[in-house]
């Protein structure tokens, strides 16, 4: 029955190729299409997300260096859901506030706590940035192999069909091979954008994280100066 179908196939539209394919090959093709959908979903999501993050960083830096009082900035930001530099700033300020409200004595301990709080927030932020990039990498490396598997299985079936029909005419062989090759084509179609997107987004995520780290270091230095000034003034007051 298989060979009859093979021999009778004269039109080679994509749809007929797909419908002629065996069960395994169909499954592989569907899986690869799903992977492609997932890849492009991530691409769209990340593009929007990174754009938003970059804009937030720009805005925050502008506001931060505008000479506005840090207390005031903290008050406006602590009410909102913040991300990126804002989140780092809020976490550091929160720790600062808590320490001074409870009358912390050791300035070194305060500095360490603030740094820790900022590190944790930074880690969380960068994790959000790099989320799902792993699946892009997986799709990029595995999809060609999956497609190849589909091709091999398809060609196997088509050769079995040739053995059954006892004809090596190219017209008999060609549709089966074309259908099998379609699996590799879909695999490459999914893999190539995934690889490109992975490289681009991991580089972007690295840049954004570095920017946030730089801000965290800078803010840490500012807070350290403040702590020193506060200690100085409190000592002078004690004297």
């Amino acid at each position: 029955m298989e060979q009859v179908g093979l021999a009778a196939t004269s039109d080679v539209t994509l749809w007929s190729l797909f419908m002629e394919a065996g069960f395994v090959v169909k499954l592989v093709m569907l899986g690869l299409i799903a992977a492609s959908v997932w890849t492009w979903g991530i691409v769209v999501d990340k593009t929007l997300n990174y754009g938003r993050v970059r804009r937030q960083l720009d805005n925050f830096e502008q506001v931060f260096w505008s000479g506005q009082s840090l207390e005031e900035l903290y008050r406006t930001l602590s009410d909102r859901q913040t991300a990126g530099m804002g989140a780092i700033f809020v976490s550091a300020m929160r720790e600062w506030k808590k320490s001074f409200e409870r009358g912390a004595r050791s300035p070194i301990g305060l500095q360490m706590r603030i740094d820790r709080a900022m590190d944790v927030t930074l880690a969380r932020e960068s994790e959000t940035l790099e989320a799902r990039l792993g699946s892009l990498a997986t799709i990029g490396s595995a999809a060609p192999f999956i497609g190849l598997f589909g091709t091999v299985v398809g060609i196997m079936t088509s050769f079995q069909a040739i053995a059954g029909s006892k004809s090596t005419n190219l017209a008999v062989v060609a549709p089966g091979i074309a259908e099998a090759l379609l699996a590799t084509a879909i695999g490459l179609l999914a893999a190539i954008p995934a690889v490109i997107a992975y490289n681009k987004f991991s580089a972007d995520a690295g840049k954004l994280t570095a920017r946030m780290e730089a801000f965290a270091d800078e803010f840490s230095a500012i807070l350290s100066r403040q702590i020193d000034e506060k200690l100085q003034s409190s000592r002078q007051a004690a004297q």
Partner: protein, 356 residues
């Protein structure tokens, strides 16, 4: 993320739809119609080594032309055919009935000519081969009773007037009665009235007389045969007795020494060749001898001896042996003289290992 996934799914759906529509079925390859050219492989032997035979007959081992029926009248004839004269032109098929009808016409001209005997002889010479066509013989046959009358009464009118009643063709005769033609005619019908063949033979005799009388290179027979449009003209005078087999028009000089003739030549050399048994590496040596011979079988110049394979020493020893054997066995005997073309320069190969 959900929005992005939805966007991606929609994009994929769009792309797949587009692909299904536009990439659907690729255009078929345009295969140009190439006509196969028939190729005949023509061996050169068909030109260089033609044996005389018949072009249309089936191929046989020995080529021979179509058998002829008559004994040959010409010595050393070269062209096959039933003709009396050895002509190079191929035999043409016999005359069509149309030409036979026209053959009747000359009779009138004969009568019209007021010339006496010598002129008439000449005309007969030229037009003799006209088959005395049947209507003519009939006419000749009819006057049979008249002939008896003729010797008595020379003027023809009386019998001629009787004819019109019997034969419409004879109507022409009365008009020309007054011509003096009547006289010579009397003799001829008397002998040839019944059979046209006899008439022909008679004519031939006359021809031979005429040609011999002139005694020159001028071959009137040949001219007559060429001029003759009624009978099949061409064809040679050489007779063939065998069954027709495929072959050419003429035997060309191409021929080769047969295997047995070659073996005889090789044997003459081998008889004079003493090969030392047990020579090392002699098994692989092959000797090729090229020699030129004159028609008596004598060597012309030095024979060329080449050796391949085996060791250097064995090659040199065997080459020397071969040269001595050839010089000793010259002159060669038993070579067919008519094939001298093919053994004037002859190449003989030896495998010394088989001669030990």
């Amino acid at each position: 993320m959900k929005g992005s996934l939805a966007t991606s799914a929609v994009l994929h759906a769009l792309v797949l739809t587009w692909a299904l529509v536009s990439l659907g079925s690729p255009a078929d390859f345009e295969v140009a119609d190439v006509e196969a050219l028939p190729v005949d492989i023509v061996p050169i032997e068909s030109i260089t080594q033609i044996q005389q035979g018949d072009k249309k007959a089936p191929a046989k081992e020995k080529a021979s032309p179509v058998p002829t029926k008559k004994p040959t009248p010409v010595e050393n004839a070269e062209n096959i055919g039933d003709n009396d004269v050895d002509l190079k032109t191929p035999p043409t098929p016999n005359t069509k009935p149309v030409q036979n009808e026209s053959a009747a016409a000359p009779e009138k001209t004969e009568k019209a000519l007021p010339t006496p005997d010598p002129v008439k002889e000449e005309i007969q010479k030229v037009e003799e081969p006209e088959p005395a066509s049947e209507p003519a013989t009939e006419v000749a046959a009819l006057p049979e009773p008249k002939q008896e009358v003729k010797p008595e009464t020379k003027p023809e009118p009386a019998p001629a007037e009787e004819q019109p009643a019997e034969n419409p063709e004879a109507e022409a005769l009365p008009d020309k009665v007054p011509t003096p033609m009547a006289k010579p005619k009397v003799e001829k019908p008397a002998q040839t009235a019944k059979t046209p063949e006899r008439k022909k033979e008679e004519a031939k005799k006359e021809q031979k007389k005429a040609s011999s009388a002139k005694e020159s290179d001028f071959n009137a027979d040949e001219i007559a045969a060429l001029l003759n449009k009624q009978e099949s003209s061409g064809g040679g005078a050489k007779r063939s007795t065998e069954e027709a087999a495929l072959g050419g028009k003429k035997t060309t000089s191409g021929n080769t020494l047969s295997q047995s003739e070659m073996d005889a030549l090789r044997g003459q050399i081998q008889n004079n060749w003493s090969i030392i048994p047990g020579m090392a590496d002699a098994a692989d040596v092959r000797i090729k001898v090229t020699m030129r011979l004159d028609p008596n079988g004598e060597l012309i110049g030095e024979p060329e001896v080449e050796a391949t394979g085996g060791s250097d020493a064995a090659r040199r020893a065997l080459m020397g042996g071969a040269r001595r054997a050839i010089l000793k066995s010259a002159p060669f005997k038993g070579l067919p003289a008519d094939k001298y073309d093919s053994w004037s320069e002859v190449v003989v190969n030896f495998d010394p290992s088989s001669m030990l």
